[in-house]
């Protein structure tokens, strides 16, 4: 039976991680496109041209996000039917809200944004671009709320049969866990959006193409990327870490690689967890920093993993530890890179410094890696719980499906997603190579004629 559970978990982890590569880009780009449209509204044709170009990439990415999102909703029922049976009336609230309040909004206004430039007034088109931000960001909120209930359940009671009932919809929607996690996740998404924009901008500048428009949107991307990189670390990253420490102390100790209770605990920067000897191999540690970051006091006591019952340890501490350190390490690099770009922007050297443009261009994959690692940290860290402290993961999975069936669908998803990746890279590369063009509004003619 344990192997079926593993297959259920791998399938959900695979489809969810793959899916999230797309919305993190679209949620970030939606905001950037709105900023460009706002600049365009004040009479800057370059911003309208840049918005049009980025909207093409947005459209393709959004499509991938839509199609890879459908399986997730189905999998609640197909793979996690016991979870749905006992908590569906709660999780269904936020999932149904996402459909009704966010998806309908997105599907309607994306079409109007892509094809409405000729038909709508400038202001109306700008409002539509705002509605798209509202739709994609709302969608994110409802999903984080659904996840937050699993991480930090609120507003429920459990009856004699073990079924969860909603006692307060307001508590569910204003779950303090959700609010902090949302702010951190959305900042991560803005980082992805701005790094992608900066990276492709850098590519065009290095090739010496589309210089006028690219230089300008690149500076927008760098400013937004700098601000978002800082917010991701403090305050939102700090809030999130403190909240994990408070409510999920086992996850916290495991992700920090902190095995033994200590006063004035050090922060592990690099090193490999050694579970046989319960220590970090080859560590580089900042003394007392973990105590300070967690409790604002250099000598505070931080509990180690060994304080907790071994059954409650996450089942893959190594992966959890590395996911967290990859996320945090990349986050630090993002601040450094964008900080440097800001400095060069200020000195008016950003567009001509080929070294920094190369770095920006090559940075493209890293925000995606950081965000994925962040999700791994959250989800692997929650194990062995499906609903933290209340329901074990083994108890939430469908029990009536044989391993062979799950393996079949898992392989199917892998094959299909490989095919989607090839298509996406091929088509995105084409759009990128065409680059932005300055057109009058009458000529505005998107490459895609179909709305998504």
């Amino acid at each position: 039976m344990i192997d079926s559970i593993l297959l259920h978990r791998v399938q959900f982890a695979f489809t969810a991680s793959y899916h999230y590569l797309f919305p993190q880009l679209t949620m970030g780009l939606a905001l950037l496109i709105f900023i460009l449209k706002t600049i365009g509204l004040r009479g800057n044709p370059w911003a309208d041209a840049a918005a049009r170009f980025w909207l093409k990439i947005f459209g393709l990415t959004f499509l991938m996000g839509v199609v890879t999102g459908i399986p997730l909703e189905f999998q609640f029922g197909t793979n996690w039917s016991q979870l749905v049976k006992s908590t569906g009336s709660i999780l269904g609230q936020t999932l149904a809200m996402e459909g009704i309040f966010a998806f309908f909004l997105e599907s309607t206004f994306l079409y109007l944004l892509i094809f409405g430039e000729k038909k709508l007034s400038r202001t109306a088109h700008w409002i539509v671009s705002f509605l798209l931000v509202a739709g994609t960001w709302l969608s994110g909120y409802f999903i984080i709320c659904t996840n937050a209930f699993l991480q930090h359940p609120v507003g429920y009671r459990i009856d004699e049969q073990g079924v969860f009932h909603l006692t307060s919809i307001w508590a569910l929607l204003s779950n303090p866990w959700a609010i902090k996690q949302y702010l951190h996740t959305m900042t991560g998404s803005v980082i992805t959006g701005s790094f992608t924009m900066a990276s492709i901008g850098a590519y065009h500048l290095l090739k010496g193409e589309h210089l006028e428009i690219t230089r300008r949107y690149l500076s927008v991307a760098v400013i937004v990327g700098f601000v978002a990189s800082i917010i991701a670390a403090a305050p939102t990253g700090d809030w999130e870490a403190k909240q994990v420490q408070k409510h999920q102390p086992v996850k916290f100790s495991a992700m920090e690689g902190h095995f033994h209770t200590e006063d004035g605990a050090g922060l592990v920067l690099i090193g490999q967890p050694n579970l046989e000897e319960l220590k970090i191999d080859n560590p580089i540690v900042i003394p007392k920093a973990l105590s300070f970051l967690t409790y604002d006091s250099w000598n505070a006591t931080v509990k180690g993993l060994t304080e907790y019952d071994r059954d409650l340890w996450p089942d893959n501490i190594e992966l959890l530890y590395f996911s967290y350190h990859i996320m945090a390490g990349l986050g630090t690099l993002f601040i450094a890179l964008m900080g440097l770009c800001m400095l060069l922007l200020w000195k008016k050297k950003l567009y001509t410094s080929r070294t920094i443009l190369w770095l920006l261009m090559l940075a493209l994959p890293f925000p995606f890696i950081a965000n994925t690692a962040g999700w791994f940290t959250t989800e692997i860290g929650r194990q062995p719980w499906l609903i933290y402290g209340l329901m074990k993961t083994v108890d939430g999975a469908s029990k009536n499906i044989s391993q062979g069936n799950i393996m079949f669908t898992l392989l199917g998803f892998m094959g299909l997603y490989l095919f989607l990746s090839v298509l996406y890279f091929f088509l995105a590369t084409r759009i990128i190579n065409q680059g932005p063009e300055l057109l009058s509004i009458d000529q505005a003619n998107p490459a895609t004629e179909a709305g998504t």
Partner: protein, 347 residues
Amino acid sequence: MMETVWYILLLLMISTYLVLDGFDLGIGVLHLFLADNRPEQKQIIQSIAPVWDGNEVWLIAAGGTMMMAFPVFLSALFSGFYLPLTMVVWLLIFRAISIELPHYLSDSLWVHFWNIMLFVSSSLLIVILGAAMANVFRGVPLDQTGTFFEPLWTDFRIGTQTGILDWYTILSGMTSAVILLHHGALWLIAKTDGAVQQRSRRVASWLWDLTTGLTALTLLASYSVQPLAKASYASHPWILALPVGAILALIGSFLFRIKHHNMAAFLSSALFIYLVIFSGAAALYPNMLPSLNPEFSLTIYNASPPANELNTALFWWIPGIVLVGIYFTILFRSLPKTISTTASEEH
């Protein structure tokens, strides 16, 4: 009482999905036969391109609503139909990209490939939708744990050993296919002009004959495979208004079409789909998923949470759906009244 309210709301969402995505699914199949050249092909696809995504959201929103209002039902249904539902997901993915991706490249092989994919995924989906509903209607081998797992097929007969595909579910799949093809053809008649409109009109004419014949056959079959249907219609004869209304709506779609009231014909077909779904649901009520052993059947009462939870949900659901109505009005009004081959070139 609250259970019944939510059951009706859920049925409304599912049938709205079938009515809206129904026409673009039907057109996904028909487009290969109704267009002679690339501009006509574009004209047909242009009639659904702006709306298919929003139409499909009804399925997702209905899924969320089902999870919220009838979690036990969703849990049994989705895990029991594990394989076919996962395949439905794959088909939905293929269909979505088949509609959107052709426009990124004008290479004729590329376009042709996606057109074939659109045809294949849409055809399989419309057959599966009907077969799925027939499975629910016929009943499944739910046991005392409230779960079941059916093989894809057994010997195609209906007995104690049911398979997902048997003669009844295949018949229903075929029926739903012709209903949705007819529905799609009526949308094309209403939204296009020229050669495409004329061909759609011809196709709609014989699709109407097929729809009428197969619907009659499926009605008789349904009445015979599900004893609950006899009991319901015998004890509450007034629900006969639903199937009778469905027949009138079907006749209406014929009359409006031959009189060239094209939009009215399409709306009649939409009403027909709504009433077919409600006729089936009324026959089972208050059962949602009948078991072959009636003791274990899921009803709207044992599949839903307590009424106060359902009550809470109405407070956000009603304003939510009003908003959705506004979006759809904006979206459908922003479409051109008639899509002609020249207009589709502009885009």
